[in-house]
Structure formats: C-alpha cells, structure tokens
Subunit: 716 residues, 2 copies
C-alpha cells in the first residue's frame, strides 16, 4: 500500500471519529477508544478477568467492566476461573480466592464500602486485584480501576486502599410529582409524570444508577423536599419500589421526602401532631408498608416549618418532637431521618442567625437515627457565603452538609460554574470548634465528634434533557459532588482533570485550558453576580438574572434583595458584626473576631458582615465603590475569556458538544454583562460615583435593564 | 463679605448655570453668555452698532445681532446713526456710509452674496465694518461676525473677504404631504400635515430660516422628491407661499419637487408627455400660478424615471425632453430645473454604471437653466463610495452634488457620524477630468468648466423632534453641510471646532476630545458597517441594521445585499474591474487604472471594485478575511471609545443634553456590535475561517442575530 493511500485511509478514519456527534447522554461513562499507547498498555496489564462472586452487584461490576474494557481498548477480555499472570481479580472476602490473598490489614482499613487495589505477584507474573469486604466495595473498586483507565493513569504497581469519608452520600432531587423540577434547569423530571412506561426506561434508570455508582453515590431522595403528601400513597410507594429494584445492584438506596402533614392530608386523621398517638401509629403503618415494598428503604428527608411547609410547630411541638417521632418509627427498619435546618421567618432577627438559634437548643436531644441536614451557608446556596455556624456548634447531634449541585443562584444550566472549588472552600473552612483544624468537613465526617451517622447530600442538577444537566460541562458538578462525598480531600484540579479525560478528551492541549477555565469559573460567577460578600441580588421567584431593585408589594422582606444589600447614599452591605445583627457571635473565636472587624474580615465576605461607606478603603487602596466596580468588570472579562478559550479548543472534541458548549458560553457572556451593568447602574443610583473612566461603558440604561425579563433571556 | 460666603454664592451660581437644562432646540444659535474674558473683549471692540439700510433682510440682520450680542456679552449694544470708535457698521453699497469706505476691490471679490469684514480707522479709534453688495451679503457677514464671537475668535484687525463657492446652496427635504419624512429620523415633518395653525409656527419657521441663513443656505426644497402631484394644487401652493414669506428676509428661496405625471394626475390631461403641447401649456399655467404667489420661487426638483417615479420615458421621450420642457416653462420666471441623475433599473448592467450610461448622451443638450443633480456616489449614499463618474465627465452641462445629511445608511439619528469628513473626501477626490487637481468640487463649482449655474444640495436630517435632528451631536451635519456649501475648502476640524463652541462649550478640555471623536466618527461607522469597500449590507426597506443575508422573494435583485457583496466560498466583493462589470472604464485615467487593479485600488474601496479570495493578502500582510474581521472589530472599539470619552466629559455641558447624548452612544455601541457580529458571522458561513483567537467573541449566534428586528432596537 502506498503511503499516500494509507494517509488517505487514516484521514477518513480520523474524520469519521472526529465528526461522530455525541449527545452527552453517556456522561463520563463513554468508554470510547483510548489513545493507542494507553490501550496497548492496559491490554498488556489485563489480559483476563475473574469476578469472584455472583450477587447482583458483582454481576453489575462485571458487566460494566467487560463492556468498558472492550470499548476503551477495542479488545474483549477473556474471563477465567482462576487468576494467572495479567488477570484482573475482583471479589469480596466471602470468596476464598480473595480471602487467601493476605490483605486483611488493607481490607480492615477499607471498611464496609471501601476497596483495595493491588498489583500482586502471581505465577508467571503479576495480577491486578480489586478486593473488598462487600460487593458494593468491589463495585466501587471496579469503577475506580476503570476511572484510572479512562483518565490515562498507570495500572502498574497499584497499592491503593480507599474508603469513603461519609457513610451516606446522597443526591436530593427536588422533583415534583407533576414532573416539574424545582430549581431544575435540565428539563422534565426523570422520575415523575413520565409519558413512557416504566419498562421503556429501565435502561435509562440503570444508566443513572451506573453513573452514581461510578462516583460512590449510595442514596437518592427522588422527590422534592417541598413534598406532596401523595408520595406516601400505595401508588407512589410502588413507583419508589420499582426504582429501588433497579438501583439496588448499584448499592443505591432510595429515600423519600415526606410532608409532615401527611397523616391529616392523606390519612384522614384529625391532625398531624407528632405527640398524637394516632399520628405515630399512622406513620408506623405507613413505614411498614414502605419496607414491605422496599426492604432496604433508606429513610425520610423532611423540610418542616420552613418556607410555609407544615411541621410540628403547627401543633405547638418542636423540631425535636417531630424528628424523634419519625425516627422512632423508622428505627425498627434501620431507616433514618434527615431533618433539614433550613428554617427562617420574617421578623426582627437576621435571617442568617435563625437556623442556629432554632436548632442549637435541641443539640443532643435527637434520636440516634436523626441527622440534621444543614445547607453550606446560613442563607441559601449563594455564589459565596460563609459556612453555616451550625457546623462545629452542634456537637452532640450528627450534622450533614447539604450542597446544591443545581445552579439556582449561579446561572442555571447556562453558565459554567464548576462548583468543586466552592464546596472545597466550605469543606476546608475552619470552624475552630475544637481548635485549629476543625474544618467543616471534620465537623461532619465523624473525625471530630463521635457521630453514629455521617452523611452528605447534593441537590441534583439532573433532568430529562439529553445532556442530563442542560449543559455538557456542568455534568462535572454531579461528578465532582460524588467524588468529594467519597473523599473531601481530593483536589478540585484532580477531579476536573479526570472528569475531562473521561468525558471529553485526553489531549493535554485541551485538558489544560479547560481545567484552568473550570477552576476559575465559580469565582467568575461570584464576581459578575455578587462580589465582595454581596448576596441575594437575583430576580424575584425565578432567581434568574439581576434584580437588586426588586420591590414586590406584600412580599416577605427577607425574600427581597434590599434586605441583603442595604445600599444607601452612605454605603452598602449587611452589618452582621457586634454593632449590627451580631451574627458573628454564632461563630467560634477567632473566626468571630476575624469576621467582626472589616479590617480582618476576608474581603470576599466583606459586605456579608459589614455595611461600609462607598469610600471605605480596601487593602488595595481602592475605594469600596471602585472595588465593587472592578470586581464586576473582572467577572465579565473572565466570561469573555472562557468564551475565547473555548473557541480555541475547536476540533478537540466532537462538533455537536463543541457547538452546544460554545452557545452556552455566548449566553454566559451576555448574561455576565447583564448582571454587571444592572447591579452597577443600580448601586450607582446610591453611590453617585462614576464607573472608572478607562472601563468599557454599559450599553443599556438601568431602566432598559429593569425591563429585561427572565423569559426574554432564558433558554430552557 | 467673608471668603467662605463668596465661595458659597459662586457655588450656587455655578450650579444654577450647570443645572440649566437645554433642549437643543436653539441649535448653534444659543447666544449664551460667553466666558468673561471674551465678552469683555468683544464689548470693548463693539460698543455701538449702525445697520445702514432698512429692507427686511437688513432688519433681520440687525435683530439677530442685537439679541445675540446681548446674550453673548450680557450687555445691550447702543444703536447709533453714524459710526464712531468701536462702532459696528453693517450695510450694503447702496448706502452712502458703506459706498464711501473705499472697499470697491474687496466688494468686487465678494460678489453678489459675499461680504467684507474689516477693521477700519475712524475718528478716535477703529470700527468694525460688515460691507456687502446685497442685503443678503450683509446678513451673511453679520452671521460671520457672530460666529467669530460665538467661537471665541478675535475681532481685531479684521480683513476678510468671503464669497460662496456655489451659487445655490440647498436643503432637500424628503417630507411627504402626510407629514411623514422619508429617511427622516427626527420625528414628523416640520412642513406638512401639521396640527398647529401656521401662525403658531411662524417663530419656529423663522428659527429654521435663521439657522439656515447663519450657515449660508439660500434655498430649500420642502417636499419629497418622490413627489405627490397634489403639491401643485392651489392649496399647497398657498402653503409654499406662506413659508416663502417667512424665509424671504433670510435670503432663502423655496423650491418644489414635482411629479412628472402631474398634468395627467391632477390636471386631467390625457397624458404627461413632455412633447404634448397641452402638457407644456398646463405647466406654463401652473408655473405662472406659482410665481403669482411666490415671485422669487426657485424652481423644480425632479426625480423622473427613477425607482418607479413617472418621467418622460413613460412616453418614449428622454430625460432631455422632460427637463428641457420644464426648463423652458421656468425660464420666463428665472426659475431652474434640478433634474436628478439617480436612475437605475434591474438588468444585466451593474447598477453603478447606469446613471453615467443614461445621462452622458445628453451632455450639452440641456437648456441653460437645467442642472443635473448627482448623488456623491454611483450607488446610493453608502457610508463609503467612490465618487460618481458623472463628476468631471459631464463637461457641457452644469452638474450639482447631492449629499445626504440624514443618515439613511449611517445609523439614522442614533449614531454619531460627523459627515463633513465624508463630504470632504468626495469634494477633494480628483477626477482627473482636466488633469491633476480636477477635484469633484471643481467639476461642480464653475472653476473647471464654464457653468451658468452652480449648486449643491443636502438631504436634510430635520424633523419636529425638539433637537431638530433626533441627536444633538448630528445637528453638526446640518451645520457642516451649510458651511461646506459656502466654502468647500474649510477643514472638517475647523467646522467641528466652531460648531462645538457655538453649540456646547468653549472649554478646551471638552472641545478637543469631542472634535477628535467627531473626526473619527464616520470612519468608525464605515468600519463596523461596511469596511474595505463593502456596501449595501443593510436591512431591507427600512435600511436599518445589518442584513447581508436578506433574500426577499420577488424583490428587485439590485435592492438586495447579495447583489453587492457577492460572498461565496471563494471570496467576496463586486468585480467592477475590466474583468467584471468594467465600471472602472467610466473614470478618467489614471483613476481608472488605479481602481482597476487590486494592487493599486485604495484598500478602503477594495471590495467595491474587486471580488477577491478570502486569503488574498492585503498590503499589511493580513489575509482579506482577517482584514475584514479586524476592521469590524476596530469599528466597535471606536464606538466604545466614543462612549467612554463622552462619559469623561460629564459636567462640561448641561445635564439634559449630556444624558441624551450619553444614551445615544449606548445605542451606537450596541448596534455597532450587532453590525459587526451579524456581518462577520454571516460572511463566515462562506469564508469558513475563524475570527482570530485573541478577539472578543460574538455573544449571539447568527440565527439569533437574524431574528433581531428593526422594531426591537430602533428608538425613534
């Protein structure tokens, strides 16, 4: 064959690969052919496999591996019944072939759900071992091995012991039974009010379970915390059970959000008072009914006496009364109660103080199977908040972190905001509850306080959109949440790096720039939306776009931006220092003192804790007004940078996903400009100070920007 | 009085001046108090005035001066009956006091409408003299003296002789009788279908006349060239007469656009054939009727056999037949015919060639009182065109220039495009008709060819908007047109400088930057709309915004952008060289040869004359595609620069006009971006080449930009 012809053939092949459009539906489980040097290496290390054990989870692990290996290397792998040189051996200690490996020490460190990855000698060479104490551990170990292959890491000389930092690693779906998703920006609910028969969607749900298992998610609450009581009817329990059956092999338990008023609403009881024996009896029966259908049902997630939801206080009872009644009912079945601490009422006290004030009196008074679920910040998933003071303060009650994967306040599914950096900022924040090193992570993972339960939850960004998340690149947030729930010490860069390689491309000329963009992306959103500790400036109700001016007649004042920014001719910001709401007192020293003074308060939280004059000088020497302006402008320049950088990456991935993402960056840039200009022109009506003369000028008047409507710009 | 109190008082005074809002209605005739050093100097030079002569024009000159002087200096000036030291003496040679001054030489150079400005000795000192051969000249001289004061020039040692370069200096109003203005962007017609009684508007019309007289305009055609035959009915003739009476003291004659089919349409004749004796008789009667009402009526402006208008060719006659018939009828009254050469028909021949082809056969065959009115470029008032080849080619027929003051193709009244630079580019363009130095100006002003008539016309940008022109800063185009019609050798900088000082501020920190912006403004518009010789890319019908893609079923192909840009996978541009339409052959050597080769063709006309491949290298070494991109981007950066620079000028002028203009720059910037992105993304569908990676990216897709509608963005 002539060289020219070979080149022509290769050209055709290359084109056919390059032109093959991808929809994003495969997430990070694409298992496309690896670069040849990698697939050659892996094919040499693994020439045969033995999956020891035969339960449904082991079967799932084996099926995943066989399909993945063939996809990644182009070669089917041989199954054997005993390990030899270049065998991959996967199994649990209940299998002799594993129990005899002498890995007791490692396996004891791996714990219930962990795994050991080892390269071990075997006759005629070496073999690769995935050993675990449970088939769940073997499944996670299998995915870990695949992740290594997908991200081009070496399989030589493996000596890894992994165990998850949190026992329960949950997604929360805010999916309504009518199929809408509260704060969902990726289409219809994947669970409710489907047009298809369940049987048509089994593969789809299996894909959901595989994706979650691949990152260690082991539980999912599949209906909205603003819960419809109907979810407890036989019809819905049956639907939960169908899904649980699909998820079970993937070690995923199902949880239910319940409405505290269910006994009265669907049970026909006179009330739902937790101290009413009839109420408890009703719950006992209902829970028994659930466990008959779902023997490994996880438990209840409860939003009570919060934002209009019913709760025990409706009957003069307490959070303690309510949570403990449900906990007692669930104890018999080893179920748990996740009781949310997201509570606040309009009134004299600063909203940021209220959860702490309301929950601290109950510390140590909950049943053992209650865990208090606390949002990362004291307000509500803002682009940047300080950590909630409940972390570290509740020392006698298990507390779990709730993160929001769906970008309610960070541009919906239109903006790239890689949230791992935000979550790491929270996890690594030092509460000083037990002196230095008392990070939020350690206040929740059982290493600082004795906890019977450790857990973490993320509010999912998942819907029926082909991309699952409405934006290819923010699939990374689902991925990163799972990875951090498994190990909060992973770095955001490493997570981004492996996700990019699994999902998009191995080419370093692509991975490097995109990692850099992802790492900068959340700070960019903070800058163009709410820099320097500003918060809650977004549009009324839909929470999209800037509306710092919003004033809805009769609205709860604590749902309006003015409550938070307090801009005036004097200055801007919320005084939460001792001279103000004194929210700082809820933190331990020296955090309290650091936050209390504008001199020591981190500048990125300055206006969260302080109301300062427009000419206040920051450490840079800039006035507060100019600093605000420069930050908003910096945010827009970052958005433009992302857009420009992405355009440079054309050709590295398939055209369809490239174009989809390219369009998202266009939207992000124009909305960044919208945020910047709307906020600055509005605040300027108070500051009466100019935008520094060297900066690009807004091209709309404030009045025009006030007319810009959610509906006009939003693309879902 | 304590210093502090004085400072306080001064502060109040300053504030009250600064805060005094101006509407722009006073144009450049504001006569606001001058800086004190100037008013002191002028008050010393002129302590008394004598206006010798008493006709209506002299009276108008005197009234103007007295009011202006008091406004500018804060002091009323004394009127005297004989000149003394520090007298201003104004008059014509028919007055003995002027005739005796010994200014015969100067006055002979000043001619019919010119004037002499002289500082002359008089008993006890010196006096200032404005002398002229006609009261019109005295009026112009008076305005010239005021302009010197308004723009802060010295009144010492004056020795000026001025005479206009063109005999007839006309505005053309494209005002329809229903009150709409074709291509008007400043509101309702000032002339037609008014809601007010005529008497209520007399001061307003006097203001129009004063403004025109102040810049030397001496004629106005007040109805659209797409003429309604009704204009020749007694009712409208009466309305023309009322206006003529107001304008007459200001030396402004009135002209009428006529519909060539009028004899048939309103006269009841069988046809309007110019060789039909009944038709000529009908016109004779009609013209006599007009002259009875308006003894100094100027004549007719005719758009015939052009864009669907009727004309002599409808009866198998020629432009010559039609124009000469009307000319004969008008000769008895010393009226003239301005016959427009803006003719083209869809067909095989390049539109740019057609006016030349159609009119050259008649050169030398028109009556003496016919002048052929030719648009500056061969297509239609585009942001940049080469000059029409008729200039210099028609040597035996008077040819007059038609400029467009209203910005049909340069952003309506939303964009700053100071057009003096464009007009100067045309006036100074060398046709080589009689060797080097045969500028377009000289082919029309009588210095190159013997012409019985010289004239120039500008299509007005005037409407009932308070600002007159819809944008304060483009009042300068009305002003500049008049100044250049008087003296095409004035520089655009000098015109801008005097207009800014008269209209906005004397402060050098304001005048300098604004002059710079104005001087750069038209090129900026060219860059973001139609760089490198591109043309006619604008929206269908309304001519607003970019629509290079427009394809209207059944539309005349020569009204569609594709006819002009001819973008394809190969390249872009209209080949008008010898290998193409050969439009270049209509130019004299060496212009013809320069245009014919892409190597020598000016780059700013490159794609006007050539169709070139996307990778064609320009002199810079850049490819054609990249050059187009960089020019569009440069245009947007200029718009942003204007916006930023204007913001720096806050406080120099009244708040109202500042804010009005500030808003216009916002609109201009966003529309510049719209033009850039729409054109580039559209052309990119052919070029398949990237926008260079370092450049800001478009934030909309082409499909979105195609949906952007005139109505959504236009603000009049």
């Amino acid at each position: 064959m002539k060289m020219k012809f070979i080149a022509w053939i290769l050209g055709i092949l290359w084109l056919s690969v390059s032109a093959q459009a991808e929809t994003g539906a495969d997430l990070w489980l694409r298992y496309q052919r690896l670069p040849s040097e990698l697939s050659a290496s892996y094919s040499q290390t693994i020439r045969s496999v033995q999956f020891a054990g035969s339960d449904a989870t082991m079967a799932a692990a084996k099926d995943e591996f066989l399909a993945a290996f063939e996809g990644l290397t182009g070669k089917a792998v041989q199954q054997v019944r005993r390990p030899a040189a270049a065998t991959l051996l996967v199994g649990t200690t209940s299998e002799k072939v594993i129990a005899d490996l002498g890995l007791e020490d490692e396996l004891s460190r791996a714990g219930e759900e962990g795994y050991v990855l080892r390269t071990m000698d075997v006759k005629g060479g070496s073999m690769t071992v995935v050993a675990a104490n449970s088939s769940a551990g073997a499944l996670y170990g299998t995915f870990a091995l695949l992740r290594r292959m997908q991200s081009g890491q070496s399989l030589e000389n493996l000596a890894v012991v992994e165990s998850p930092k949190y026992d329960l690693r949950l997604l929360n779906h805010w999916d309504n039974l009518d199929g809408t998703v509260e704060r969902g920006y990726a289409g219809h609910s994947i669970f409710w009010n489907r047009t298809e028969e369940f049987s048509e969607l089994e593969d789809f749900y299996r894909q959901y379970a595989r994706a979650n298992a691949s990152i260690g998610i082991n539980g999912t609450a599949i209906n909205n915390v603003n819960a419809n009581p109907d979810v407890l009817t036989a019809e819905y329990i049956q639907q939960f059970a169908q899904l649980a059956d699909i998820f079970r092999p993937y070690n995923i338990r199902i949880y239910m959000s319940v409405n505290f008023a269910s006994p009265a609403v669907i049970g026909g009881l006179e009330n739902s008072d937790p101290l009413n024996p009839d109420v408890e009896a009703w719950w006992e029966n209902k829970v028994a009914e659930i466990y008959r259908a779902i023997p490994d049902f996880g438990g209840f997630l409860v939003k009570a006496n919060s934002e209009g939801q019913p709760g025990p206080m409706d009957y003069g009872r307490t959070h303690q009364d309510g949570a403990n009644m449900l906990a007692r009912v669930l104890q018999a079945h080893e179920g748990i109660v996740m009781w949310r601490a997201f509570v606040y009422e309009p009134g004299d006290d600063d909203r940021a103080r209220q959860a702490y004030n309301e929950f601290m009196p109950f510390d140590g008074k909950f049943e053992d199977n209650v865990i208090v679920q606390v949002k990362n910040g004291p307000i509500d998933f803002q682009p940047r908040e300080p950590f909630s003071p409940l972390f570290g303060a509740m020392q006698k009650t298990p507390v779990m972190l709730e993160f929001q994967i769906t970008q309610e306040y960070l541009g919906f599914s239109d903006h790239l905001a890689y949230l791992s950096t935000m979550w790491k900022e929270v996890l690594d924040a030092d509460t000083w509850a037990k002196g230095p090193g008392s990070t939020v992570a350690r206040t929740t993972d059982g290493t600082l306080f004795p906890q019977t339960l450790t857990a973490i939850a993320g509010v999912a960004n998942i819907g029926r959109d082909t991309t699952w998340t409405g934006h290819h690149l923010i699939q990374s947030n689902w991925y990163a949440f799972g990875r951090l729930a498994w190990d909060h010490q992973l770095s955001s860069e490493d997570i981004a790096d492996e996700w990019i390689k699994m999902t998009l491309s191995h080419n370093p000329a692509f991975v490097g720039p995109l990692t850099d963009m992802m790492m900068r992306s959340r700070e960019a959103v903070v800058d163009y939306m709410t820099p320097l500790g500003l918060h809650h400036l977004m549009g009324w109700s839909h929470h999209y776009g800037p509306e710092p001016w919003t004033d809805i007649e009769g609205a709860r004042p604590d749902w309006l931006p003015r409550y938070y920014h307090k801009a005036s001719a004097y200055g801007i910001g919320f005084d939460r220092s001792e001279t103000g709401s004194n929210a700082v007192e809820q933190y331990f020293s020296p955090v309290k003192e650091l936050y209390n003074s504008p001199e020591t308060c981190p500048e990125n939280l300055l206006l969260w804790f302080h109301h300062l004059p427009w000419d206040y000088r920051l450490k840079s020497g800039q006035t507060l007004w100019n600093s605000i302006v420069y930050r908003y402008y910096a945010g827009v320049e970052e958005a433009r940078h992302f857009q420009r950088e992405w355009d440079r990456l054309e050709g590295f991935i398939d055209d369809q996903r490239f174009a989809d993402i390219q369009f998202k960056f266009k939207v992000q840039t124009r909305e960044a400009i919208w945020w910047r200009d709307a906020c600055l022109l509005y605040f300027q009506t108070y500051s009466k100070r100019p935008i520094p003369a060297e900066l690009e000028r807004p091209v709309h008047d404030l009045d025009e920007l006030k007319e810009t409507k959610f509906e006009m710009l939003h693309h879902n």
